[in-house]
Amino acid sequence: MLTGTRIRERRLVLSRRQADVAREVGISAAYLNLIEHNRRPVGPEMIARLAKVLDVPADELAEGREEVRIAALREAAVHPAGAAAAPELEQVAEFIARFPGWAELLVAQSRQVRALERQLVDLSDRMTQDPYLLTTLHEVLSAVTSLRSTAAILAEEQDISDDWRQRFHTNLYQDSRRLSQTAQGLVAYLDSFETEGNAATPQEEVEAWLASDASRTGALDMLVSDAARDLAMTLGRTLEADRAALPDARLTKAVATGGAALDPVQLAVTLGLPLDLVMRRLGDLRPEGYERAGLLICDASGVPTLRRAASGFPLPRPGDNCALWPLYQALAMPQVALSRVIVTPEGRSFRALSYATRSQPEGLEGPVLTTALMLLLPTEDEAPSDALLVGPACRICPRPDCPARREPSILVPQASVRTPRS
């Protein structure tokens, strides 16, 4: 039984009105209604408040062990390795009840398989076509080339004017600084080969920093490389500007007084603020109803400039993506909010709100810059028939017959690229 259903049943047992419970909890009746119908995720804090009002231990409202096991077995069942086996999904609860030990073993093995697959992908990436490694080595080579030529000029050439000497000293300083930064990043990257799940690139370091509380305080201690610290400081300034434009208290209040029952577009209208700002703030603050939200932002080339994972939506390595993410559809339709339910290969559903903006920061003669955002919210609802089947990235996507596939999957060799039709 899902959490929302359990909350509703408990309220009905107490013969309490939805509006009364909602008022005591401090949310709108409409929002409680969405929770009870499992249309909004419920975080631990909200469960604790509801449990107090409904006079029941919080554990009894939260999803139980059984639901977790059922979900894990369902995930195991949709793995491509089991596609031909056609497991009896409708009997999964009975299977757990009759053979709890076997069920536990199956779940453990399935998790192990997925962990090994992730490791395989990581190693394959790094060995072959890792853009970070290639770019970093090119950086090292360029800095070393410049250092060697410049140092040789200073050491071997006669009659160099003071101006030139000064310029070459400045160049040496710049190149040595660049080399030390790049070398630092490279060492951190190579170290990460040994530990699964370690942040490997500066982008991944920043993503881990964003996911921690440190990004709210601005503390940079957890960032190893200088490049990651530079990225985080730039991002921190943007976040600060957003927080000043839409402070936590104002957003929390707007969401708590019916905002979450509204979609983000309506929320932006209610607040009288741009939708992209509201989406960024929802992804940053993650207020009630958005606790498990994720946010992706990319520029016009499709390169992500911010990635914040939604619960259950694993992000591929930086540089990888799925061409079917609605984020990219938004790039072609600026100023139009696109809502779509997307489903991952593991069968998890998310409501994706995508929106793109255009700007000309350098005025009329300057280039037009496009930025797209995608706010992801996990949903427990059954996916509609027109839900979009997406993946993480082609190389690690098991979908065998995808029209957008651009390279074969290393997990499912039969998932190959279609021949283009003329």
């Binding site: 060697r148 030529s149 000029i153």
Partner: protein, 119 residues
């Protein structure tokens, strides 16, 4: 005055060092900092020698070289090219470059190759 060398290189400090070294030898050297517009710069300036970096933004050195060799103007297509590459990338430069110099290089090697190519 005829241009001796056009260097297409996006790393400003490398370009500055190379330009300094070659200018001291008495050659006239000009720089183009990007892959984009590289071929047009060669066609316009008609240098006696092109020093071409392989890894350039927007358009790689290999693409520029391909287009240069395919140019309808036979004199332009035959412009001598010295390709700068990482050691492992020498193959990528193909057989179309007249000479290949691996980075990092010795300034004296650079001078010797250029001297030979402009002789």
């Amino acid at each position: 005055m005829e241009l001796d060398i056009l260097m297409i290189e996006d790393e400003p400090n490398i370009a500055e060092a190379v330009r300094f070294i070659l200018t001291r030898e008495g050659w006239r050297v000009d720089l183009h900092p990007d892959g984009a517009g590289g071929l047009e710069a060669i066609a316009q300036q008609r240098p006696r020698l092109v020093i071409l970096d392989l890894m350039l933004p927007n358009r790689s050195g290999a693409e520029i070289l391909d287009d240069l060799r395919a140019a309808g103007d036979r004199e332009l297509a035959a412009t001598p090219v010295l390709m700068l590459t990482a050691r492992g990338q020498a193959v990528m430069a193909g057989g179309q470059a007249d000479a290949v110099l691996s980075k990092p290089f010795d300034n004296e090697d650079l001078r010797a190759i250029v001297r030979r190519m402009l002789a």
